[in-house]
């Protein structure tokens, strides 16, 4: 097997190997002073107000509510300490929905990213025709509202009247209609519909990442006799790795927030087979009186911590992939 003449350090070596610079002290003369100082804060103020009002405060409020037995409208007086958390720890529905959410996010990411990368690579090849049309076609599902997408697929997947079952039956692939939204397949079906809808977005991310790969490297690899697969493995992936990790975590964290499709397609069922955390929180907070905002808030905090861990890991992995974390460089 022909080995191409690029090792990892060469590929990554497009960038400077070590760029650890000491942060410079800003000279006093360049610091913002006097009226300019006020202007800086005047321009920052609108964002800060919105950020505090719509991000920080809701976060803080959710944490506070989670320590109360609260129905959402009476005064916040019934402090229960960790009781909501203790109840959640014993709540099988919560843990089932937690597990389902992780499975959904992992499956979604595992299917969506390679697929969108593959399409992105194809659509960045010089020899590819009708690139713009394909790009539009793949991106189009993203503009369809989730509820509408859910409704469409509910009809398409129906065992009795659905077009998908009609097609697979006519091609002789199955003898009996597939119950796509039955207990065994419902979570997978939701995942596939979600991938169908969102993968155009990730295709665009990959295309942006692929533009960072210098064309000369592919030319050099071609001269060395590299196959397309070898170019992908030894040229493309090493160079886009830091961005790939960001895309990976972005994809995973976004998938953790699945909600609309579940409401539109399965309502958490059959049974609780497609209960996800967002749906669990929604059902506790809104579905019938008395509302359990305190309990739902505790579930939201626990889930938020999970997302926070995932996001924090992103930073570690990106630093490693960029070679700034030590062993990678």
């Amino acid at each position: 097997m022909t080995q191409i003449g690029l090792n990892r350090s060469t590929a990554v070596g497009v960038k400077s190997p070590r760029r650890r610079t000491r942060r410079k002290e800003i000279p006093y003369s360049q610091r913002v002073q006097g009226r300019n100082f006020l202007w800086v804060y005047a321009f920052l103020a609108p964002f800060l107000v919105l950020y505090i009002g719509f991000t920080l405060w809701p976060l803080l409020a959710t944490v506070i509510y989670s320590f109360f037995d609260w129905n959402g409208s009476t005064p916040l007086t019934d402090f229960v300490g960790l009781e909501n958390y203790i109840t959640i720890a014993r709540d099988q529905s919560f843990w089932l929905s937690f597990w389902n959410t992780l499975v959904f996010a992992a499956l979604n990411t595992a299917i969506k990213l390679p697929l969108s990368l593959f399409i992105a690579i194809l659509l960045t090849r010089r020899w590819m025709w009708f690139k713009r049309i394909f790009r539009t076609v793949f991106f189009a599902p993203l503009v369809i509202p989730v509820a509408m997408a859910g409704l469409i697929f509910t009809f398409l997947m129906n065992p009795a009247f659905g077009a998908i079952n009609d097609a697979v039956e006519q091609f002789g692939l199955v003898e009996r209609p597939i119950n796509f939204l039955g207990a065994d397949l419902a979570l997978l079906s939701l995942t596939l519909v979600s991938v169908w809808q969102i993968f155009g977005q990730y295709m665009i991310y990959w295309m942006a990442a692929l533009q960072n790969v210098p064309e000369e490297l592919y030319e050099a690899a071609s001269i060395d006799g590299a196959t397309e697969w070898q170019k992908l493995v030894h040229v493309t992936i090493p160079i886009i790795r830091p961005v790939a990790i960001i895309i990976l975590f972005l994809s995973f964290v976004n998938a953790l927030k699945v909600f609309g499709l579940v409401v539109a397609m399965t309502g958490g069922g059959p049974g609780q087979t497609t209960y996800v955390v967002s749906y669990f929180i929604y059902s506790q907070a809104f579905q019938s009186l008395p509302f359990r905002y305190g309990y739902a808030s505790a579930a939201a905090v626990l889930f938020g911590i999970t997302v926070l861990i995932a996001v924090s890991m992103q930073g570690i992995f990106v630093r490693r992939a960029s070679g700034e974390g030590g062993s990678g460089s």
């Binding site: 209609p177 809104f286 579905q287 019938s288």
Partner: protein, 475 residues
């Protein structure tokens, strides 16, 4: 120009002075029946013509969006003046909303309600249900006999294609099964359309379980949660037969899909409530249907659906700044022969507790519903809150329900969708709910509430007959 100025000043005075003296009050009413928006506009126009100083806006939102939006409105002090709501425990909705701090009396203090209260049949206003210390906090809106679940709708064309007559519908469970077999064999169309998503299986369940035992999951004869009762298990097994024999539309479908199936001629029968004539016509433009009583077990009807005091649905907000005007509007909409009642009934949106439904309803399908309701498919159930007033403060029933919301429906839907056994799951559900129910009752009794399982037990009640509510009221 000099002449013009005094004329302009006079015109200005004539325009501004009356406006200053006659401030317009804005009243917001909210409900979730989106399909009734045109009707509300008509009602509002009539009310405004009669009350020139009041400007009414009637807003509607789709049900699930409404249920999310209204709490947020209360939280942000932006609640409507009058709103529609159905609580988790429909009978105790007033109590739940009082607990939430959402509601005020329907009329300002000192209002003479003597005439208004006579618009309803005797016994419609009950302490603990819609009266608090003798003050009305709501009123029965829909009647509780005709209005409710438990009717069988048939697609006339599919029946005709199968050589069947909707005027001679199946009456027993076996007849229904035979009818379905005939329909599927002769037309290839599915027979029964059953929604399974969330708690929507209730559409079919209430209708059939209400002929065998009860449309509740609670047995008032034994005072326990009773999904494991042999009569309810037999009902489940019966429904499962339709799925096993491929007589029911397959798939895990929601109610929109299930309703569309009968409207599109892909299914012959759909079971649901008295609201379906208006839903079929407005949402599906479907008129080719007839209605019949739900078939009962072969040995005869062994149970009834609940006719409870559950129709207290409109409320005056505790946040209203216009209680006088809100009362005027409620008085207007509850006139037995007023424009609201006339149009509501003429357009077949439902039946009203304070109007002569038989006289005002023109729709022949609704006339059929009235006839069916008169055959005793629904009877007055016992009301624990009347037997023991402390029930209104008890969390026992709610705690049992809160172990898992929609538990029975979700597990039955799962079993139907997957062809699984249900009896074992049912026993587990009943055991857990009853344990929580008992445990909470005992704790509450220990804390001083005058309450026990006896408050929920009416062993002598015959579920085929009206419970004598007056015996509890008199106590």
């Amino acid at each position: 120009m000099k002449r013009l100025i005094p004329i302009l000043i006079v015109c200005l005075i004539l325009t501004v002075v009356p406006a200053l003296g006659q401030e317009t009050v804005s009243l917001r009413v909210m409900s979730w029946s989106v399909e009734q928006a045109d009707f509300y506009e008509l009602v509002v126009a009539e009310f405004e013509a009669e009350n020139p100083g009041i400007d009414v806006t009637w807003e509607t939102l789709e049900q699930s969006a409404y249920r999310e939006a209204l709490p947020l409105m209360f939280q942000s002090d932006d609640a409507p003046d009058i709103f529609f709501w159905i609580g988790a425990n429909r009978v105790l909705t007033v109590n739940e909303l009082l607990g939430q701090g959402w509601i005020a009396p329907v009329a300002p203090e000192g209002t003479d309600l003597t005439e208004w209260l006579t618009r309803w049949p005797e016994g419609s206003f009950v302490e603990g249900i819609n009266l608090v210390d003798g003050v009305p906090y709501s009123f029965p809106f829909n009647d509780n006999l005709i209005w409710g679940p438990g009717y069988m709708y048939m697609n006339t064309t599919v029946f005709a294609d199968a050589g069947l007559d909707v005027n001679d519908p199946p009456q027993t469970w076996t007849e229904l099964l035979e009818t379905c077999r005939t329909i599927v064999e002769t037309t290839g169309v599915y027979c029964l359309s059953v929604p399974l998503t969330g708690n929507q299986f209730q559409r079919t369940w209430y209708a059939l379980a209400g002929t065998a035992m009860t449309d509740q999951f609670f047995d008032y004869q034994s005072g326990r949660f009773a999904i494991d009762d042999p009569r309810l298990l037999a009902t489940f097994d019966y429904i499962q037969t339709f799925f096993e024999e491929e007589l029911a539309v397959p798939g895990f479908n929601d109610q929109t899909f299930a309703r569309a199936a009968i409207a599109n001629g892909q299914a012959a029968i759909y079971m649901d409530g008295a609201w379906m004539p208006s839903v079929f016509r407005t949402s599906f433009e479907f008129n080719d249907f007839a209605v019949a009583p739900t078939p009962y077990p072969d040995e005869g009807r062994t149970g009834s659906m609940a006719q409870t005091m559950s129709e207290n649905k409109f409320f005056v907000s505790s946040q209203t700044e216009h209680p006088e005007e809100a009362w005027l509007f409620i008085e207007f909409m509850t006139r037995p022969d007023g424009i609201f009642a006339q149009e509501y009934l003429r357009q077949s949106f439902g039946t009203l507790a304070y109007a002569d439904n038989g006289a005002l309803i023109e729709d022949p399908v609704f006339q059929d519903l009235i006839e069916i309701a008169a055959t005793g498919v629904r009877v007055m159930y016992p009301e624990p809150a009347l037997a023991c007033p402390d029930v209104a403060q008890s969390q026992a029933y709610i705690n049992a329900e809160n172990i898992r919301r929609n538990w029975e429906f979700e597990e039955m839907s799962l079993a139907l969708s997957e062809g699984r056994e249900f009896a074992e799951v049912a026993a587990d559900i009943a055991a857990q709910k009853n344990a929580m129910f008992q445990e909470t009752l005992e704790a509450e009794a220990a804390e001083g509430l005058d309450i026990s399982v006896d408050c929920y037990t009416f062993a002598d009640w015959n579920p085929l007959e009206n419970f004598d509510i007056s015996s509890l009221i008199d106590q």
